[in-house]
Symmetry: C2
Subunit: 339 residues, 2 copies
């Protein structure tokens, strides 16, 4: 009996040591953001590269200011995503890609990990900052998710800033769309497929997103997108799907970017949080699991933060526009896997 107690004690000690090795310091606050993932050419001209670094730095500063001041994780992710929506370099808000019909349809979602409150929209056409409307859905509506004309009607009941659909136009996206249209003309039967592959090659024109932990220990996630170039009218991707492109609970906050259909069928963001909770895994391990065991190379990237403020930004693509910062001053601003 004595011996089995001692082996129990030894086992418990091992367990304790294992747990201790995996735990880490509690950060006061932490934030990460992304501007899309994919095959981003290393030959990007230095001036354009610098514009992206500047854009990431600027958005990070927006989040830092909110959190350093004791602001909420929700305010931080909303403000960061608004900033990225207004930056024409990224495929969300101003600078969104064109649909097959030559228009812009915008999706967004936000989630409060402390309450599981969530707001999501798909098919917006006149709302300047979709993420701000998503937050209003979260706080003011008994519903979570509105689509298309219903989403625009919901916007009519609020004071969010409205624009003409061509506000979202940029010449770069227009040329991208024309290329996709031309490819479709060459082989109409392949049109669907072509636009999909064009987009897979151009994953960098993906999504923007942010995740944060605030000094109250609350987690939040937000994602926004202009969708995929030349996409069919009414297609809903992973971004507004709670649990796929966007998710936050008491364990972690996650925002995804990449091939929407792959992210959706694997319910990727929720699976990351569940893997942490049910498997006693770290955020790093959980994202690694989904990227390597559930998704295929080239599919996606994720940013996440856990309740201790541990940050992780990983992708199985060549690059992901990303940046992060925590209250200990750990700062990352990167585009490619290694740089």
């Amino acid at each position: 009996m004595k011996i089995s107690i001692s082996s129990f004690v030894a086992f418990a000690l091992l367990l304790f040591l294992f747990t201790a090795c995996n735990s880490s310091d509690q950060k006061e606050w932490a934030i990460a953001l992304h501007g899309g993932a994919g095959t981003i050419s290393q030959d990007l001209p230095d001036t354009i590269k610098q514009q992206y670094y500047d854009g990431l730095e600027e958005a990070l500063r927006v989040g830092e200011l909110v959190l350093r001041d004791g602001g909420s994780a929700l305010d931080a992710v909303e403000q960061v995503v608004r900033n990225l929506e207004d930056n024409p370099l990224f495929n969300a808000g101003k600078g969104s890609v064109f649909t097959k019909d030559g228009t812009h349809e915008l999706d967004a979602a936000i989630m409060d990990g402390s309450t599981l409150g969530a707001g999501a929209l798909t098919g917006l056409t006149t709302v300047k900052n979709p993420i701000t409307l998503a937050r209003k859905v979260m706080t003011d509506s008994p519903h979570i998710f509105f689509s298309g004309v219903g989403a625009e009607e919901y916007a009519n009941q609020t004071d969010v800033e409205r624009v003409e659909n061509d506000h979202f136009h940029t010449d770069q996206r227009y040329q991208q769309w024309q290329r996709a249209q031309e490819q479709a003309l060459v082989d109409p039967a392949e049109a669907e497929k072509t636009s999909l592959y064009d987009w897979i090659e151009d994953l960098k024109f993906g999504t923007v997103g942010a995740v944060a932990l605030d000094s109250d220990g609350k987690l939040a996630a937000a994602t926004s997108t202009g969708g995929m170039t030349n996409k069919q009218f009414g297609r809903v991707g992973d971004v507004p799907i709670i649990g796929s492109g966007t998710f936050a609970n008491h364990v972690a906050a996650i925002s995804a970017t990449g091939w929407g259909e792959q992210i959706m069928r694997n319910v990727s963001a929720n699976t990351i949080a569940n893997y942490m909770e049910f498997n006693d895994a770290t955020l790093e391990q959980a994202i690694q699991f989904v990227l390597s065991q559930r998704l295929n190379p080239g599919d996606a990237g994720f940013i996440g933060v856990d309740r201790n403020g541990n940050l992780s930004m990983q992708m199985n693509t060549a690059g992901m526009f990303r940046a992060s910062l925590d209250s200990d001053g750990n700062r990352v601003v990167m585009i490619w896997q290694d740089e």
Copy 2:
């Protein structure tokens, strides 16, 4: 050293016994279906009660015939849900509830656990059997999810049967909607809330769904709904959200019914499958976990089947219209918790 080996052996033996007790025979095929969950009055007149039992029996027979014949799980769940869509007793297809604007908007999703293929639609207005269009999206489109006008446009490219929107009209649903409208007039400020609460009381007017395992060992899930009475135009519930109302993978197939927003924010169906996979839990335990630890009493019901053909139908509401059958002849047709 010898002693610690013997205690290790004893521990391993216990683990083996525990696992053995939890495993069960492999069924050749199995199917479960639901027609909504909620506070279903025990005072239901016998004639109406019998109509519901008959409807459940009939739908079960449709699935049984497919699976007994060596048909696929996908065919079984599509055919069962089509049958329930065509039955005006249930809130899907014919017999769908009315939106705030007095129209019908239908949602549906289907998922193939063996490929993670999925198809989903929200806001359909003229498609007689939404589940059949969902299956076409799954097999014929590179996308998973279409909404509103885009969903109708997708239907135009297929041969699915179309109807006028008033095909979905039934007098019972019309009266239910008028009651909701009158309540809204009494207290307009409470209109949103009222329609929500009206619906919570009337959860039985929820959703229909089916899950199946076929003799090839493949799993599939399907769900279809007319949404919630007097719902705001464009509201998307849990049904077409892969991972929330509908999910299937290599572990289990699950279909949910109940308060859509609660099911969505907890990404309930995917969480059930993850809990089984990451926690080595049974389907029964996993559904129990989500119902008791994630959701609140009165929120929802789930039907599920695992890869061994174990079936589970559980709810934290007073009742759920449900039926199940497996290749060993185990048959259940029930409405309330105990009967």
